[in-house]
């Protein structure tokens, strides 16, 4: 039991550590840059620059924390789904749903606290390492800096609270577990749950429709004023929230199409079924990655469009163009890495949830082995499932990101030349290529542990009555 809890919480611990470490490292680095600027303050503007840096840093921290929250909530939901029988048994014996949910939230708080503390240490060490590297490589002069800075604590606290909150949110299903599920089939969903799901779909659809409308209004406004981007931003956040909320309805059709592309071999067909037949499970596994890929693509598309616009405007000034190319490339690279970190957290989430869900399907895998599925076919099935999930998430993210990136660029830049201008979306092929390769690598990594696990399942042990 203890060992099982530990493996179940390892993913959440890792995510909390990553999010906190990212925030701490970012703030430590900006703090260090602040020290460097103060040491070399000729213009007297170092305070403003430091503030700007801090704001930018916080934008990325918020994104990373948000993604980590979504990932953790989904991991916890996966754990709860796997523990249904056990929860139902305790309910049967008289424990209240509230008490059980409270226990899971407390586990989340404890895991979050440990992870955040680890993150504080790791993040600070990474920042010190970077400062050391900058000094050795002669990028920055060596400056005095106090690393023990209370200003880096907020992301640590935020990481703890987010994990706690996410565990609470992710354990919502505990309330829906009926005591009778200890005796019967755990896959059954109650009427209330189906009603709740319908309500959720309706809310998601409303948000998405209203948000998209607002986004288009923002784009239209953007033809006359750059402030259109603010309206568009609100619309973008709302519509994307709708998509995240309605993932159980959005992802299965995409997974179905992707699944068909996997081929018609038995492992591929079963994998496609698996990915589609359990909409909650597959949306839990993919949505984090969709968010990560959308953000990276959106940003890259917006920057690429901006760059193409600038290049078009400076056609007769080759001297300027080199500078523009360099600045934009550097910005894309730095910001891409910073947002990419959220993508990494999302990837960790996918690896974990896929592992957990395979672990929870031991019986099913044993049954398949008994009925004549070979080991290599099981391995192929897990790989295909991993590929379907990753590919669906990546493609969705790229499509959404391209749309949002273009909308952002259009709303912001549509009026810069004084006359309304339609900005063509520019596709950053380099970034897309990196995403596709990363998705391929992720597919393999995510399927590694579960496929090893799947092939060691003995049909006899899996079918034993507990």
């Amino acid at each position: 039991m203890i060992a099982r809890l530990r493996t179940e919480h390892a993913p959440t611990l890792l995510v909390a550590t990553l999010a906190a470490a990212f925030g701490v490292a970012l703030l430590q680095v900006t703090g260090y840059l602040g020290s460097a600027m103060r040491a070399d303050d000729v213009t007297g503007s170092s305070a403003t620059a430091a503030l700007m840096l801090a704001i930018v840093a916080w934008v990325f921290i918020v994104i990373a924390v948000y993604v980590s929250g979504v990932v953790t909530a989904n991991t916890v939901a996966t754990v709860v789904a796997g523990r249904t029988r056990q929860i139902a048994l305790l309910r049967l014996l008289g424990s209240t749903a509230r008490a059980q949910r409270g226990a899971i939230a407390r586990e989340g708080l404890a895991v979050g606290a440990v992870g955040a503390a680890l993150g504080l240490v790791v993040g600070t060490l990474v920042a010190i390492g970077l400062a050391e590297w900058a000094a050795v490589a002669d990028v920055l002069p060596r400056v005095d800096h106090v690393w023990a800075d209370p200003a880096v604590l907020p992301p640590v606290i935020v990481a703890v609270l987010t994990t706690w909150l996410a565990a609470w949110a992710g354990s919502r299903r505990v309330l829906a577990v009926r005591p009778s599920e200890a005796l019967g089939n755990a896959a059954a969903r109650s009427q209330e749950e189906l009603t709740a799901r319908r309500g959720r779909t309706a809310t998601a659809a409303t948000l998405a429709a209203f948000g998209t409308l607002l986004l288009l209004i923002g784009v239209a406004l953007g033809l006359v004023t750059p402030l259109g981007v603010l309206v568009g931003l609100v619309g973008g956040v709302l519509s994307f929230t709708g998509i995240v909320l309605g993932a159980h309805a959005v992802m299965p059709p995409i997974l179905r199409v992707v699944g068909r592309a996997l081929g018609t071999s038995p492992p591929a067909r079963l994998a496609a079924e698996n990915a589609v037949r359990h909409p909650e499970r597959s949306s839990r596994m993919t949505i984090g990655l969709v968010i990560g890929v959308t953000l990276v693509t959106m940003f890259a598309v917006a920057m690429e469009s901006y760059r193409d616009l600038l290049l078009a405007a400076t056609e007769d000034r080759p001297d300027l163009r080199v500078g523009i190319e360099q600045t934009v490339s550097a910005t894309v690279a730095v910001f891409g890495i910073l947002i990419g970190f959220s993508g990494l957290i999302a990837a960790v989430g996918l690896v974990n949830t896929l592992s957990l869900s395979v672990l929870q399907r031991t019986r099913e895998l044993g049954l398949l082995r008994a009925l004549g599925f070979e080991r290599r076919q099981l391995r192929a099935m897990v790989l295909a499932e991993s590929a379907a999930l990753t590919a669906a998430a990546t493609v969705t993210g790229i499509v959404l990101g391209t749309f949002y990136g273009w909308a952002g660029a259009q709303a912001m830049l549509g009026s810069v030349q004084g006359i309304p201008l339609v900005v063509a979306p520019s596709i950053p092929w380099g970034v897309i290529a990196v995403l596709v390769v990363a998705a391929g690598v992720l597919t393999l990594i995510a399927s590694l542990a579960p496929s090893r696990r799947a092939t060691t399942v003995s049909p006899v042990a899996a079918l034993a009555i507990e």
Partner: protein, 253 residues
């Protein structure tokens, strides 16, 4: 030239079978020196007290587990040391299973579960096979339920789906381990009658573990296990006689 099991009219056979769990002082001998041949087209009931080795015997005969002593044949193939891949394919083509519970893949609907053996074999059923499946589904009363998922079915319906699946590819041999263990006795007997019927219609062999003397009284042959050994092997007999023997075994234990 060695005599093949099929020459003796057998579809499966074990000789001098032994199975131990663990080593040293804590070792458990689940089976000891068991020799048994299952005859073609025969319905064999396996009975015995809990822990007597019924499941273990069934798993080994079906190629789901390997013995620690003795030899095992499935058809004419000696599967004792067969590599996993070949064994899996053999199982897929020649053997059907009905377990006590967890028989169905939860993500697949009834039809998906029944067609699973074809799916796993990577082929579509021929027209004739499709007709067999349709007839089975009708006979088992599952016609209205083909698009339902397992959790929408009662225990008896789930077991009927498992039976349809076990018989769908018309395997030589069907193993059923307490297929009615989770059902009330009336539903249980219904399920058994269907199993026995369906298999007799196609001359398939069935080996079934059961606790129910009435169910066993429908079998052509009854094998009693106690402490990992075969203690009695009899032709069809009455439910009363079976019940009396079972009682005497439990008393002796």
């Amino acid at each position: 030239m060695e005599i093949q099991p099929s020459d003796l009219g057998l579809v499966a056979r074990v000789a001098g079978l032994g199975k131990r769990y663990g080593t040293g002082a804590g070792a458990v001998a689940a089976l000891e020196n068991v020799s048994l041949g299952l005859r073609r087209g025969e319905f064999t009931a396996i009975m015995g007290p809990s822990g007597s080795g019924k499941s273990t015997l069934m798993h080994i005969m079906a190629g789901l587990d390997s013995p620690t002593a003795g030899r095992v044949w499935l058809g004419d193939t000696d599967i004792t040391h067969l590599p996993d891949g070949a064994l899996t394919v053999l199982r897929r083509r020649r053997v059907g299973f009905v377990f006590q519970a967890f028989n169905l893949v939860p993500t697949l609907d009834v039809l998906g579960n029944v067609m699973l053996p074809f799916e796993l074999d990577g082929r579509r059923p021929s027209g004739e096979e499709r007709a067999v499946v349709d007839a089975l589904v009708e006979r088992l009363g599952l016609g209205e339920r083909l698009r339902h998922r397992p959790h929408e079915l009662s225990g008896g319906q789930q077991q009927r789906v498992a039976i349809a699946r076990a018989l769908a590819t018309r395997p030589d041999l069907v193993f059923a381990d307490e297929p009615t263990g989770n059902l009330d006795s009336r539903t249980g007997r219904e399920v058994l009658a269907i199993l026995a019927d369906a298999s007799r219609a196609h001359g398939q062999s069935i080996a079934m573990v059961t606790h129910d003397p009435i169910a066993a009284s429908h079998a052509d042959r009854i094998v009693f296990l106690a402490d990992g050994r075969i203690v009695r092997d009899t032709q069809r007999t009455s439910a009363e006689e079976i019940a009396t023997y079972m009682l005497s075994m439990e008393r002796a234990a």
